[in-house]
């Protein structure tokens, strides 16, 4: 259960203040997939970075399961990122000199899993996103874009977090591959009762979500 109330974020730039997120309030239910759409520069990524505690809001509240996160210190934010959130990026952002398996094992290391459990768990999640044993030892460069994004989704899911944040996850993929990735995210939401927030330009993906939110100049509103 995610409850956002009156969130604000302003960036100070040499050219003046830029308010990227303006008085944003919304809440989600477990198992729900939410799409956020909006023009370039409207504040989509900034909102995601606030939800994922990559950035601290200027004011407002972020509550997950009745725990206030907006005031956490750096250590608390790091622990939250390691255990409670999974990120999926447009550029996949896998570590190039680690194998698919090692990439997926990384968050487990940061979440404090024992060495022996990491490999088993990572292989298990990789197989649920459809990456067989023949590919898990390859480095990212030896995988297709779709396969790399599957590895990234596995990495986001591996610690079994309650919240998945995806910023344009299909932006670098062809339509067909993109649809499969969206299907994977849907499964992730439904099967484990997670909340999945997807930022996208793609109308078709947006229609596949349970809810659609549009952001314009940092102001968020629900689209019926």
């Amino acid at each position: 259960m995610l409850i956002i109330t009156s969130l604000n974020k302003t960036f100070k730039t040499p050219a003046g203040d830029v308010t990227a997120v303006r008085d944003v309030s919304f809440s989600t239910k477990p198992g729900e997939m939410v799409a956020i759409v909006g023009a370039s520069g409207s504040g989509k990524s900034t909102l995601l970075s606030l939800l994922g505690l990559l950035e601290s809001p200027d004011n407002g509240s972020i509550k997950v399961d009745d725990v206030e996160l907006a005031g956490l210190d750096a250590k608390g934010r790091t622990a939250y990122r390691a255990r409670k959130v999974g990120f999926v990026f447009q550029q996949f952002n896998l570590i190039p000199n680690l194998s698919a398996l090692e990439n997926v094992m990384l968050p487990l290391e940061f979440a404090g899993w024992s060495v022996s459990e990491r490999k088993t768990r990572a292989r298990e999640v990789l197989s649920t996103v459809g990456l067989g044993d023949d590919k898990v030892l390859r480095r990212p460069a030896k995988l297709s874009g779709g396969e790399q994004q599957r590895v990234a989704i596995a990495r986001a899911l591996v610690t079994n977090p309650g919240l998945i944040l995806a910023d344009e996850p299909t932006g670098n993929l062809d339509r067909k591959t993109g649809e499969r990735i969206i299907a994977l995210l849907r499964d992730a939401a439904e099967q484990e009762k997670r909340t999945v927030v997807v930022v996208t330009h793609d109308e078709k993906i947006a229609t596949a979500a349970d809810r659609r939110l549009e952001i314009e100049d940092g102001v968020l509103r629900e689209i019926a």
Partner: protein, 450 residues
């Protein structure tokens, strides 16, 4: 796999760069180690030379040089009071005379070898007589590469003796068929042989040593001296006492001490030390800067990756450890390669430094025998053989020149721990920049497209 292993693995992500960084570090570390070893060798040399420097001051008549002297003799009335100067503990007075065949029944034995050739062609070398009040000290040996006279037969005479007695060098005694108890004539007087000495060189063993008073009386040079040697209590008082003696005697005498000679001879070694110290600092600074810039470049390149690690929950400390491991791996590889090269290079480098500076020094250069042993380093497994003690001084000060026979290099524990400290310093310098940059990376940057 933990952050340390990732760091070590990251070292080799860009092979060409990794090789370049390791090679540059290795060169810098090799130079550092060579300089440390050269410094150690030179320090040991300087220390051993200083340790063997005598506390004596030599007084000779102005312009008097060896036994080819032509200066006006000194007088005992000038020299003897010097014994009462502060810090002077002993005074050895000598009067050297040359006896031609008309003055003595003795025949000098012709030295063999080159010197013999010089005196060949019918010329009979004169016999040198040294009158002394301190028998049993280095009178005839020192100047000719020999040592202190040792009585091998018979006995010596008392320092105040006025008897017509003499101690003969072994070679001279043999050439004249003289033994203890025999007599010979000098200045038309019968002189009794009471002892035979040996001073380690055939040239030094070709002299006659007699009581000072006897020589002064027989040679009609009462109260005159051709040389004196003062012994000073400690090395630290030698310079001041030399000045004082020189002042007392005025222009009639040359006053020199081995301390001055040592100082002149050591000047080029001192400059080698200075050069190697600066080079050492330069090399360490160079290595540090190279690593620092490389790490800076690497962190810049991996900015996004650092952001990703932070975004997926990596604690900053874990990322910092990863970069420190990478920087340390570079340093360790550079050190291992550099140490090998440095130890091999140290001996030729030390020699080159010494001869290069020696050539321009007023001391007239050093003579180094070829084929100096390479450093005293033996490697085996990961254990270094500890140093077997620094070499003993092989400087020799003779009457006619100075010789630095060899500069011996060896790798001591001190050098190794200094080199280790240098490597650590380099790694820390390199990693510090990486650490500062890692801390500054904001994970939210990852969401921005490039």
């Amino acid at each position: 796999m933990g952050s340390l292993q990732r760091g070590v693995r990251n070292t080799f992500r860009n092979t060409i760069r990794a090789v370049a960084v390791v090679v540059i570090l290795a060169v810098a570390i090799a130079v550092s180690i060579s300089m440390l070893i050269a410094r150690d060798a030179v320090s040991a040399k300087i220390a051993s030379v200083r340790a063997t420097t005598g506390t004596t001051i030599t007084v000779s008549p102005k312009g008097f040089f060896g036994f080819q002297g032509s200066g006006t003799p000194l007088t005992a009335s000038e020299v003897t009071p010097l014994l009462s100067l502060p810090h002077v503990t002993a005074l050895q007075e000598t009067l050297s005379q040359r006896l031609s065949s008309t003055d003595t029944s003795l025949n000098a034995s012709t030295p063999s070898g080159d010197l013999g050739q010089q005196f060949g062609g019918g010329f009979t070398p004169p016999v040198r007589v040294v009158g002394t009040n301190s028998p049993g000290t280095a009178l005839v040996g020192g100047a000719f590469g020999g040592s202190t006279e040792k009585i091998v037969k018979g006995a010596s005479f008392a320092s105040t003796s006025d008897a017509d007695v003499a101690i003969l060098g072994t070679d001279l005694a043999r050439a004249n068929n003289l033994v203890v108890g025999s007599t010979f004539t000098a200045w038309a007087t019968h002189v009794t042989v009471i002892g035979i000495y040996s001073a380690g060189s055939s040239f030094a063993n070709n002299n006659v040593i007699m009581p000072l008073s006897t020589v002064q009386r027989l040679a009609h040079q009462a109260g005159q001296l051709t040389g004196a040697t003062l012994t000073v209590d400690t090395l630290s008082h030698v310079a001041a006492t030399t000045t004082l003696v020189s002042h007392k005697l005025g222009s009639t005498a040359d006053v020199t001490s081995t301390v001055q000679t040592t100082q002149t001879a050591l000047a080029p070694l001192d400059s080698v030390q200075t050069i190697s110290t600066y080079t050492l600092f330069g090399a360490v600074a160079g290595a540090g800067i190279i690593l620092l810039l490389s790490m800076l470049m690497i962190v810049r390149e991996r900015r996004r990756e650092i952001g990703v690690l932070k975004a997926i929950g990596a604690p900053t400390g874990s990322i910092i450890r990863q970069f420190i491991a990478e920087s340390t791996t570079f340093t360790v590889l550079g050190s291992v390669v550099g140490a090998g090269v440095g130890i091999v290079m140290s001996s030729p480098i030390a020699s080159a430094l010494v001869s290069a500076t020696g050539d321009t020094s007023p001391a007239g250069g050093f003579i180094r025998p070829p084929g100096g042993s390479p450093g005293g380093f033996t490697g085996g497994g990961n254990g270094f053989t500890p140093p077997s003690g620094m070499p003993t001084g092989s400087f020799r000060f003779g009457g006619f020149g100075r010789t630095l026979t060899q500069l011996h290099t060896s790798v001591g524990w001190g050098t190794l721990s200094a080199a280790f400290a240098i490597a650590i310093l380099v790694a820390v310098i390199g990693a510090s920049v990486a650490v500062a940059s890692v801390v500054r990376v904001r994970p939210a940057e990852v969401l921005r497209s490039e």
